[in-house]
């Protein structure tokens, strides 16, 4: 068993879990933060994307013990009450249908906007599509996801 100390959505948590516990399992099963989803087992679909120490990662491909000591933000903790501009943009632009890929899309969207803003690069439609390589959606055809991220980028 591994003792895992983490700050999740601003709160310190500590759990003793099997060493094999993935961060996604830790969030879902130990903390019951079930907004982080698991849609594949080869690290490709991106439904599990959360931020660890400010960076988007695939929580299904990270051991909880390896993240120990870090700060984790999940879709549940993205906004302090209300909605984060990215969440609002997904609502405003019909950027979701079944909602399963949505938490990962939103977390990847926030990460990409932050990175582009930090480096002063323009987040074009082509760039958004390229940046979404690790997030698969089966419902929306990406059209409105791309619009949502474009919209949020102007408001973040």
């Amino acid at each position: 068993m591994a003792t895992v100390n983490l700050t999740v959505n601003g709160k310190a948590v500590r759990r003793d879990v099997p060493d094999t516990t993935l961060l996604s399992e830790f969030l879902r099963e130990e903390l019951r933060l079930t907004g982080t989803h698991v849609g594949c087992d080869t690290s490709q679909c991106g439904a599990c994307v959360v931020h660890v120490d400010g960076k988007a990662v695939k929580s299904c491909t990270m051991l909880a013990a390896a993240a120990a000591g870090g700060e984790v933000t999940t879709v549940e903790g993205l906004a302090n009450g209300g909605l984060h501009p990215m969440q609002q943009a997904f609502h405003d632009n019909h950027g979701l249908q079944c909602g399963f890929c949505t938490p990962g899309m939103i977390m990847s969207g926030v990460d990409m906007v932050n990175r582009y803003k930090d480096s002063g690069r323009e987040l074009t439609e082509a760039a958004i599509r390229h940046e979404l390589e690790g997030n698969i959606c089966r419902c929306t055809g990406y059209h409105n996801i791309v619009k949502s991220i474009q919209d949020a980028a102007t408001k973040m």
Partner: protein
Amino acid sequence: MYPTKYHKPDSLEAASAAMAAAEDGKILAGGHTLLPTMKQHLAAPSDVVDIRGIAALHGISERGGALTIGATTTHAEVANSAVVAAACPALCCLAAGIGDPAVRHVGTIGGSLANNDPAADYPAAVLALNAMVITNRRDIPAEDFFDGMFTTTLEDGEIIKAIRFPASECGSYSKFPNPASRYAMVGVYVARVDGRVRVAVTGAGEDGVFRHDGMEAALSAEFAPDALDSVEISDDGLLSDLHGTAEYRAHLIRVIAKRSVATC
């Protein structure tokens, strides 16, 4: 996953000790291959030794145009490094094209090389740039490091500390991604190092990354895309699968190599 024991040592010595004590230990340097493999029960190491807590294995430095990149430096760190961009911009482009953004935040150069996936990108750079793989036991020249698909000459318990890339006059990496996995189906790194042209091909070979003598000779004679038109590119020893026959890969090697030369 089968049960395993997770270790996160803060020194190479401790990492070596953990590996030595393990019945069947595996180094974890990013985990984007190891963890999915464990999830699918295709690997079941008794111990997993995470080397990302070892400060000495992380970071990028430059001296006289030569780059030393610590084993646990992530793809994103390489892609965004001003030092790398100045010394070897093609390496930034290569790192920026590995996997997706979330993968790049976690995957590391050492992990990629130790795994030696035949479709990984970094082996092409390491071989084309004639880099040195520095381990806790020795320095291994690129030519001696790769030893077939998913195999290297690393010994049991040997841990990559860093990769040293010599100064290069120019270089360029282009790849053709597999439509499903987006790994390289053909990736070609063209470089000029010490006045010599070196061409390394990843994604295509049954034994992993390889250099192509014919293309190197043609480009040494004339460094231009069209110089590759008459080079014979055999499909012997090339991978053949759903997304690319050996014949198609042989064709793509030329096309992608020309694109690399054009942007070099």
